[in-house]
């Protein structure tokens, strides 16, 4: 068992690392293209900023928490054979309900997080239900619900005076209340996620226990996926719908549950980010990138919940490094470069295929000759059958 697990793990890890390396090389080429003289310093900034100071490191952790949650959300659905492209909508809805909880209803932060989880879960369940009951592709439904979620949230905030920043002493009303403003602190001191001394340890206001919560949830997701009958059913549905039908597994129920849980995870992500006290929800007409970035985070980790922890940290690290490229590079160019790196990193899946082939070719002597002949012969006939 060990031997096999190790090889698979090795292939996955190697594939991710090669993809990351390729992404970084491509990022460097882009840096040279946009601003040759600063390319080298720029690249070194990109690579080292995250570790340059404890303050920057705190920012890496701070951003990685919501990324990890949306990454888990996408990964969870992937394992069940579903593509949750709606993580951003679920994340937005999670943020909304979490903020409404702590502002409008003066609830403590953990209650806000739970509300956010419920919000994401409800939003995630809709594409799941559509898929299970009417066989509507979950990608289409989730994309539509991303926009529905965004505009419902913006509309609601606009009509909830208490939620907006100007109700708490600020002049602007294009964003939600700052949870750390003096007036707000007097109103609901428990609204923000506790820092538990981490802020002092890192010397940064950004640091709180969000990343720890997210990592614990990643562990929980791993346990559900790999240790429970529920996870066994979900993965069976994901790998082979027909076989799970044949085994009497209720595929429809599992599709709904899987999307609901995926939504809940993204919803917690929204809560973790906006209850930090350092972020305010801005009323803009574009979807939040945090949800979409969950997709490369999940792909880079080959949908492994534990791997997601590391890939979320990596993406967050690159983003913090990207900020240090200013002012030599403009904000938009930085976004392009980061996007390119993440994009190439997500090639891990492709890379994994190549690497496993390479492994196979190099391990031929270990493999029982007889079994392979049968396999290849059978595959040939089977693919022919499909072609017909």
């Amino acid at each position: 068992m060990k031997k096999h697990g190790n090889r698979k793990g090795l292939i996955n890890a190697t594939a991710s690392l090669i993809s990351i390396a390729l992404g970084l090389i491509f990022g460097f080429v882009l840096l040279m293209l946009f601003n040759m003289p600063h390319a080298l310093t720029g690249f070194s900034n990109l690579m080292t900023t995250g570790f340059a100071s404890s303050e920057k490191l705190a920012k890496v952790f701070y951003q990685s928490a919501p990324l990890l949650m949306t990454g888990l959300s996408v990964a969870f659905a992937f394992k069940t054979g579903l593509f949750n492209i709606g993580a951003t909508g679920q994340y937005t809805m999670g943020a909304f309900l979490a903020l409404v909880g702590v502002v409008q209803f003066r609830l403590p932060w953990w209650a806000g997080l739970l509300l956010g989880m419920v919000g994401g879960a409800i939003l995630g369940s809709i594409p799941g239900l559509c898929k299970a009951l009417f066989n509507v592709n979950e990608v289409i439904t989730s994309i539509m619900f991303n926009w529905i979620s965004l505009f419902v949230v913006n509309l609601s905030f606009n009509n909830m005076p208490l939620m907006l920043a100007n109700a708490w002493g600020a002049i602007n009303k294009d964003r939600t209340a700052s949870l750390t403003g003096a007036k707000f602190m007097a109103y609901n001191p428990d609204a923000t996620i506790p820092k538990a001394g981490l802020d002092q340890l890192f010397g940064s206001n950004y640091m709180n226990i969000a990343v720890i919560i997210a990592i614990l949830i990643a562990g929980l997701v791993w346990v559900i996926m790999n240790r429970t009958t529920f996870g066994y059913e979900l993965k069976a549905c994901g790998y082979n719908r027909f076989a799970s039908d044949y085994a009497g597994i209720n595929a429809k129920r599992n599709i709904v549950l899987s999307m609901t849980i995926a939504g809940a995870l993204a919803g917690i992500g929204g809560g973790l980010y906006y209850l930090s006290g350092t972020a305010q929800y801005t009323l803009v007409k574009s979807l939040l990138g945090m949800g979409f970035n969950g997709i490369p985070v999940a792909l880079l980790a080959s949908s492994n919940p534990i791997g997601t922890i590391f890939s979320a940290l990596f993406v967050s690290y690159i983003q913090v490094g990207g900020d240090a490229l200013q002012p030599e590079y403009s904000r938009e160019i930085i976004d392009i470069i980061i996007a390119a790196i993440i994009y190439l990193s997500a090639f891990a899946l492709l890379m994994r295929g190549w690497i496993s082939k390479w492994f196979l070719r190099n391990q031929t002597e270990n493999i029982n000759a007889e079994s392979i002949v049968t396999d290849s012969d059978e595959d040939a006939t089977e693919s022919e059958e499909k072609a017909e």
Binding site: A236, A243, Y246, G248, A369, S371, V373, E384, E385
Partner: protein
């Protein structure tokens, strides 16, 4: 001039991890029918693919009429007048018979098709070899036997004189097989040379002049059919003596365990009914075999019995309990086991390990879970026991990913899982598909043992031999109906063939008796 039209000398073809053909030599004389015999995975298809230009061998040469030739692709093979009827036909379903025959060899004038001459040539060939076809019928509308004739005409149209038949009898009724054999003999008499790939020994004895036997990629030898026996060939093919007879004592019939009444199953895509008003029952201690040519409603019948498809009307009972609308899980819990026809689509989660696949039907039982957590130690204990008992071979035991196992062992895993559930009713569809002779023997024994253990067994198979040797009672399905019921002891292949092809049928009265 060489005695041989085609010689494949010392061919070696390697794939990653395996030598598919190891120093294989095959020599085909002009005007002979030469059989190529071997089990699944022995390398027959690979060798023919080399001859047809689909693979390039690492070593060895191919000679045509004594001269070395290089065959890079099927077009080269065609130029050398080598033609092949593939096991799975290569026909365009929505084209007419004529269009399929000329496809790739069209005669044109100023870029326009000249079908008139082609039609004449096809009709002439059709008469000459009594290969009756309707040139204007669509492929999708004609029977499988007819489609095979189209494939044969395709070769003749191209003036091929070296004809390769890859497992041509698998889809035919006994009568159609006889016809095909006659056609092959006619070809040989005319000086065409035939390579006949098969694993059915009696067909070789009936039609072939010489036979080359492959085993595990190696050439075991070439013998004259006149000088050999079925037993000898079987031993060459498998490497040990084989017992073809399924040994079984007379069964003790009990109460009906599975009862089907007036079952009607529709087609998902068309309005057509796939199963039409079928009624039968399977008693405890009895094996009922369903014979029929592929696509006559057997699959749909099984789907409806196992709960994968909802029937339009009718009723299904296990013992006296109606299960017509029960879920798959509920049926399983009532003691229904199902060995599915498609092991990759239904039978296994290929990306799961062998152990995980072995508990696919009972992972939720208290034995394997505790408050929703899987008990891996129990799972491994259980799978190790099954692996040992059913001799399932894999590279790493229970943790082997099912996808990496050979087809035969995948099948054994499914059989092991289903039989270990201690079912009251076992529905086995093509349980020995793609297995070697030894494994077939074993699985047949297990099925008979289940019967002797007072289980009811419904065996659905396209292999007539299997239905005849394992069953106690045989039902024949034709176009969604049960057209005959026969006692397995007295039924003959000829008789079954007539029912299977729709040429004969018992009246409803007779069936019900």
């Amino acid at each position: 001039m060489s005695e041989y039209v085609i010689e494949m000398l010392n061919i070696t073809k390697k794939f990653p991890g395996i030598i598919a053909n190891d120093d294989v030599t095959l020599q085909l004389k002009k005007g002979e029918i030469h059989a190529l015999l071997g089990e699944n995975g022995a390398g027959k298809s690979t060798l023919m693919s080399v001859l047809f230009g689909l693979y390039q061998p690492e070593e060895g040469v191919i000679k045509k009429d004594g001269e070395v030739v290089k065959i890079n692709d099927p077009n080269d093979a065609n130029r050398l007048n080598i033609g092949m009827v593939h096991q799975h036909f290569k026909l365009v379903q929505v084209f007419s018979v004529l269009d399929n025959i000329i496809l790739g060899a069209e005669q044109t004038k100023h870029g326009f098709l000249q079908k008139k001459e082609a039609r004449q040539k096809v009709m002439d060939l059709s008469h000459k070899y009594s290969l009756q076809v309707d040139p204007d019928a669509m492929i999708e509308d004609i029977s499988v036997g007819m489609q095979q004739r189209v494939e044969i005409l395709k070769m003749l149209f191209r003036d091929n004189d070296i004809l390769i038949f890859d497992e041509p009898t698998a889809v035919l009724t006994p009568q159609e097989i006889d016809e095909l054999m006659q056609i092959m003999r006619n070809f040989a008499r005319e000086g065409k040379s035939i390579l006949f790939i098969t694993h059915k020994l009696n067909e070789i004895m009936a039609v072939a002049d010489r036979v080359t036997v492959l085993r595990k990629g190696k050439c075991i030898g070439t013998v004259d059919v006149a000088d050999t026996t079925v037993d000898e060939l079987a031993e060459m093919m498998v490497g040990r003596k084989v017992n073809f007879e399924v040994e079984k004592a007379p069964g003790v019939l009990g109460d009906p365990a599975l009862t089907v009444q007036n079952l009607v199953v529709g087609d998902k895509h068309h309005g057509k009914k796939k199963v039409k008003n079928v009624s039968f029952s399977v008693h405890k201690g009895e094996i009922v075999g369903i014979a029929g040519i592929d696509g006559n409603g057997q699959s749909e019948l099984v789907y409806a019995l196992t709960g994968l498809v909802k029937p339009e009307s009718g009723a299904v009972y296990i013992d006296n309990h109606e299960i017509t609308h029960d879920s798959v899980r509920a049926r399983n819990d009532l003691g229904l086991s199902h060995i599915p026809e498609d092991r990759h689509k239904y039978g296994l989660v290929l990306d799961y390990t062998l152990a995980e696949n072995l508990i696919l039907k009972n992972y939720y039982s208290p034995e394997f879970q505790h408050f929703g957590f899987l008990r891996f130690d129990e799972m491994n204990k259980y799978s190790d026991a099954l692996i040992k008992r059913f001799d399932i071979r894999s590279s790493q035991g229970g943790v082997t990913i099912a996808r990496s196992m050979s087809g035969g062992n995948q099948q054994k895993a499914i059989v092991a899982r289903e039989l270990s559930l201690q079912p009251d009713v076992l529905i086995a569809v093509q349980p020995t598909r793609g297995l070697d002779v030894g494994a077939i023997e074993y699985i047949h024994k297990q099925i008979v043992a289940a019967r002797d253990d007072r289980k009811a067994v419904l065996l659905v198979s396209l292999e007539l031999d299997e239905v005849m040797s394992v069953s106690d009672r045989i039902l024949v399905m034709y176009e969604g109906e049960i057209v005959a019921e026969l006692d397995a002891k007295s039924a003959t292949a000829q008789e079954l063939g007539l029912y299977m092809s729709g040429a004969n049928r018992q009246t409803r009265m007779e069936v019900e008796q």
